[in-house]
Symmetry: C2
Subunit: 158 residues, 2 copies
Amino acid sequence: MAENKDRHESEPTAALRESSLRVTKQRVAVLAAVCDHQHADTETVIRAVREILPEVSHQAVYDSLHTLTEVGLVRCIQPSGSVARYERRIGDNHHHLVCRSCNLIVDVDCAVGQAPCLTPSHDAGFVIEQAEVTFWGLCPDCAVSAASSGSTEPASAV
Amino acid sequence: MAENKDRHESEPTAALRESSLRVTKQRVAVLAAVCDHQHADTETVIRAVREILPEVSHQAVYDSLHTLTEVGLVRCIQPSGSVARYERRIGDNHHHLVCRSCNLIVDVDCAVGQAPCLTPSHDAGFVIEQAEVTFWGLCPDCAVSAASSGSTEPASAV
DNA sequence: TTCGCTTCCTTGACTCATTCAAGAAAAGGC
DNA sequence: GCCTTTTCTTGAATGAGTCAAGGAAGCGAA
């Protein structure tokens, strides 16, 4: 228990200090929760944090997530039709596969090296900072279900 | 006025019929509004529709937008942190430039021909149907403001 | 043109993620 | 340990979007 907690706290604590943020147990817990639950939505983060700090307010979690996003310790992604989701993997240029059926999100490395699709055919005069690529489709499980049920609809069971 | 209205109604009407949808004045007006206001959010569409049909309900606009999206007459996009936005240009494989400062959205053609970034380095077993690419940056106006104010912050004036 | 079935629209209430605001509590430099 | 500043708690509010029921309109057939 204790060693588990220590393992979780040491890295987030160091990360907070490196970013010149005050180290509060709420922030440490939020950062650890995002580490443990990749692509978690805010509600999942709140539940995870409350396993360690039962009395934490949802506002503290929202504030922490915003602050951590601002300094770049976590990244916020929001596929169409989804609430905000957070991930700890940052800095590398990776993108996301999203399952249309079960909403599973999976990381994928960039297809074309470091700066993948960072070159639109015509940039309309924009100064481009970042390319965000989302692949929509069916995850392996849902694809199998759809195939075995003989249609592209997600299968209910069997 | 009248000819303007006719010009707007004839194309949407035909499009609705081709998609086997009932032609209602609400749907015609919604489709025309999306044509006239590329990347409009729902509120903008409602306002535009009410210039023609002052009594239209917001629910009718929501329903129409959903139906039109379902049959593929319009496309719904939702950049992170933005509400749903709709566009009439569909079928081609184009992507979007979004200005971080003023939220302007501009279409860009696909960088790599027809199926641009449709090949992630590792597909994790997903059956991929579509790649959605969003380029984040600064539009020409905001880039100029930022440069002339000597920082990357959006300039307030001057 | 009228009839009748089906789909669509209006009305009004509701959900839920997210934000706002004010005061209490905690972090961290001295 | 003290004091200032930042952060957290509490509680209410906002706003995009959804749900549900009944009335209205589209459109194919007669």
